[in-house]
């Protein structure tokens, strides 16, 4: 009964979305206030209906109602409650419901908090959002109904892939979707602006917080996914350049570019059509990711059960949304007059460089991800494009991007003095050089490439701090005054510094984990000791035990260093009988400077065990760096200037005469 209610709510939501996607658009065109006014209540109603559908599906999972096909196929009565709930979106149908729910929630946010938007713009944004929702609701109802019944109901379900039964992965998809779907806001604003034929600073100011919010979610989602891959897949790696990973990384790169170009758009009233194009591309790449993951055109270690028929639907939708948007862009964008003038050496110029490198990086990932498919279609045979390709092409693009951040963020708007900025960065350069040389001299096994990574990270960190120190006049005024200035700095600018510092920490983490990583694979008997990078791992024993829905074989390791105990590690191999699938649970001991990582493999014939032992220096910095980026984004988001958009359009108009403020 409840499942039918959910299905019914989805159909009603589709009807509401159809109304919301048409009437306000026509109303805004004809300037009919009554039709424009439909948008807001429709968005609220639509969110409510999809909310009901989502709750109905959750109810079916929580109560293990196996008469619902989706629950029977993806859940099991013996599963812990957390995974019953995360099972809702651990499958294709349910994840699509979560997708539209998040879409509706963003729409709801615009309806409730977008009071300062001009009514016609708000109506158009909500209408574009609703049209996207129409596509996805149709997709769910026609091809992927999560509420389908099964008769007779099986006694128990087939269970959820045990790899997915993990707290990290329970929250990874929602984060990712909040990111993907969040970019639909930037998209909707872009389309609304193209229809209105007007892009101004106020428009950019409205778009920025939504983009920033989506970017924070996507960053957190990707980081969470990579952390999961690190501890769950048991190979010590955290990024595999897998098509599904790339599918989430492409919108991230485009979204990061959008974040920066929107600043230029807001502050200097230029780069308008480029920013619009980026907004379209970012969301289109999110849709493309959905397509790649669900259509089966590419193979991946972690794709959903795929179905080419669903692929055709999503592709048709992609063509409508992206093709339509780009066609509209081709017609309307030439009319968007460029605004502010500036010299190449300026903040604007630096952000153009930032956009160039990020977009080319995104295009490179795109090329590498889709090349095998296109080559095969063209009859050119099968190739694999893996990590070595991306390391050789993508990283060289990111190095200058990162290296230029300190310079770019110190250049003033309009016209800058490169020599002057470099002079102010002398100290940072010295610190970075000294750090790299010290590491090269002191840390054993440092290659020149690793020293380069350290140089890059230290340069960025020192540069960001120099810029911050300049803002608070550190050492020029007394410390208390500097502190007062720091506290009074706009949160957006502190957020920016924090996020850039996060990039530095991330670069350091990547460098450390790649350059000084040690791994040893061997067979060990109980009692045997193996030394890895100065740590002695002793296998004390192997035992069996039972978990709530699995049985496990676990190895006990004692780790010592120079005779002193460090930690005990208990890696496991689990078998989940419901799914008849083995998983590897690595044991990790994490500190700021290194991770100790142990994996128990299969028994050898003579009673010894295959073990894989890793020492991964600085690897935690990778996720801590991402955490700082997200933190910086959130801090920036909390800035009053982002929240209070109301008087802006006026202020910016008047501000045409005044000097552009940074």
């Amino acid at each position: 009964m409840i499942a039918e209610l959910g299905h019914y709510a989805l159909i009603l939501a589709l009807v509401v979305a159809l109304v919301q996607g048409t009437l306000p658009l026509i109303g805004a065109q004809r300037r009919t206030p009554a039709w424009i006014a439909v948008a807001r209540p429709a968005a609220i109603l639509q969110a409510g209906l999809i909310g009901i559908a989502f709750l109905a599906l959750t109810h079916a999972f929580v109560t293990s109602d196996f008469s619902v096909v989706n629950v029977a196929e993806n859940s099991h009565s013996a599963k812990p409650m957390l995974y019953k709930i995360s099972g809702v979106w651990g499958n294709h149908e349910g994840s699509m419901v979560l997708w539209v729910l998040i879409l509706a929630l963003y729409g709801l946010a615009v309806a409730l908090f977008g009071r300062n938007l001009p009514p016609s713009l708000r109506a158009r944004v909500l209408a574009v959002q609703a049209l996207i929702a129409v596509g996805f609701l149709l997709f769910i109802i026609l091809t992927s109904n999560p509420f389908e019944r099964l008769s007779p109901a099986p006694l128990d379900g087939r269970g959820l892939n045990p790899l997915l039964q993990d707290p990290g992965l329970a929250f990874h998809p929602p984060m990712l979707y909040f990111g993907y779907v969040g970019f639909s806001m930037a998209f909707a604003f872009a389309i609304a602006a193209l229809i209105e034929g007007r892009v101004d600073a106020a428009w950019a100011r409205w778009v920025r917080p939504w983009t920033l919010a989506a970017w924070c979610f996507l960053t957190a989602g990707i980081a969470l996914g990579s952390w999961w891959a690190y501890y769950e897949l048991g190979w010590g790696g955290w990024w595999f350049w897998d098509p599904v990973e790339n599918a989430s990384f492409m919108p991230w790169l485009a979204g990061t570019a959008l974040l920066h170009s929107a600043i230029v758009c807001e502050k200097r009233d230029t780069l308008k059509s480029w920013t619009i194009l980026l907004a379209i591309l970012t969301f289109s790449l999110s849709l493309l990711g959905t397509f790649l993951v669900r259509s089966g055109v590419l193979t991946s270690v972690h794709a959903f059960a795929t179905d080419p028929e669903r692929g055709v639907f999503i592709l048709a939708f992609l063509v409508l949304v992206t093709g339509g948007a780009l066609a509209l862009f081709a017609v309307r964008a030439p009319g968007l007059a460029g605004g502010g003038l500036f010299a190449p050496i300026s903040r604007e110029g630096a952000l153009v460089l930032n956009n160039l490198l990020l977009t080319v990086g995104c295009a490179t990932v795109f090329l590498g991800t889709l090349y095998p498919l296109f080559l095969e279609i063209a009859g050119g045979g099968k190739v694999s494009v893996g990590g070595p390709y991306f390391n050789a092409t993508f990283i060289p693009l990111m190095v200058p991007l990162v290296a230029f951040v300190p310079v770019g963020s110190m250049l003033p708007w309009k016209r800058g003095d490169l020599a002057g900025v470099l002079a102010r960065l002398r100290f940072a350069g010295g610190v970075a050089g000294a750090t790299a040389l010290a590491v090269l001299a002191l840390v054993e096994g440092t290659s020149l490439l690793a020293a380069g990574g350290v140089l890059l990270a230290a340069w960025l960190a020192a540069g960001v701090l120099t810029e911050l120190a300049g803002r608070v006049q550190l050492l020029r005024v007394d410390a208390a005054e500097s502190w007062r200035r720091l506290v009074r700095l706009p949160r957006a600018s502190v957020g920016m510094s924090l996020a850039h510092l996060g990039v530095a920490v991330f670069v350091a983490g990547v460098t450390g984990s790649v350059a000084w990583h040690t791994e040893k694979v061997q067979t060990m008997r109980v009692g045997e000791t193996v030394e890895v990078a100065g740590y002695q791992f002793t296998l004390d024993g192997v035992s069996e035990h039972r978990g709530p829905n699995y049985t496990a074989t676990s190895g006990q390791f004692t780790v010592t260093r120079q005779g002193a105990p460090v930690t005990r590690l208990r890696p496991e191999k689990r078998i989940y009988p419901a799914e008849n699938m083995p998983t590897t649970e690595a044991a990790i001991h994490s500190t700021a400077m290194r991770d100790l990582y142990a994996v128990l493999g299969d028994p050898a014939e003579d009673g010894a065990w295959t073990t894989r032992l890793y020492v991964n220096p600085l690897i935690a910095w990778i996720w801590f760096g991402c955490f700082m980026m997200v933190g910086g984004g959130l801090l920036s988001l909390s800035d009053r200037r982002h929240r209070v958009g109301a008087p802006v359009r006026q202020a910016v108009r008047a501000g045409v005469l005044g000097p552009a403020k940074a």
Binding site: L233, W235, F240, W241, D242, P243, T270, T299, S300, V301, P308, G338, L341, F342, A343, P344, E348, G349, V352, L353, N355, L356, T359, V360, A363, T364, L367, Y371, L375, G380, G381, K382, V383, S384, V385, G386, G387, P388, Y389, A392, T393, F394, L397, R415, E519, V521, Q522, T523, T584, G601, D602, P603, A604, E605, A608, T610, R653, A654, V656, L657
Partner: protein, 153 residues
């Protein structure tokens, strides 16, 4: 279509029961072998290198690579051995040849095109900037007049 799906389900990939493997005693050789492992794709599990896979075939191939490294074969020789059996598909770093020119030189081409576009844009922005300032619009003129008169615009 149904068939393709059945096939994927029914085909038992060589993933069963990985055996213990022996590491080369010489750390330098082992390091070389590991680098080679990372460059070879595991055919059974999609998109992973044989270094990152527990599949039986991956374990066997790892062992073969080690044996050949220990026997003193060059990196190219070892890779060639695997490619002769499984084709270019096993190379995670595709070889540079006519069918992959676009893949390998594509990023540079895109960068060049992007840099050209950016350069033109920057030149336009500057050229306009170096000339006389753009004339005030009517709106701006009104605002200016209002400010001069000491009124709110």
């Amino acid at each position: 279509m149904m068939r393709a799906r059945c096939l994927a389900l029914v085909l038992v990939l060589l993933a069963a029961g990985a055996r213990a493997e022996t590491v080369l005693p010489d750390p330098a050789s082992e390091a070389r072998a590991v680098e080679l492992h990372k460059s070879l794709r595991c055919l059974v599990c999609q998109n992973q290198s044989i270094h990152d896979s527990n599949a039986d075939l991956a374990v066997d191939l790892r062992q073969i690579v080690r044996e050949r490294v220990a026997a003193g074969e060059s990196d190219a020789g070892v890779v060639d051995y695997v490619v002769r059996r499984y084709g270019d598909f096993v190379l995670l770093r595709p070889p540079v040849k006519a069918s992959t020119y676009l893949l390998w030189f594509g990023p540079a081409l895109i960068l060049l095109a992007g840099a050209t576009a950016a350069f033109r844009f920057l030149r336009r922005a500057r050229a306009a900037g170096l000339g006389a300032p753009a004339p005030l619009s009517d709106q701006e003129r009104r605002t200016l007049a209002a400010l001069r008169d000491g009124r709110e615009p």
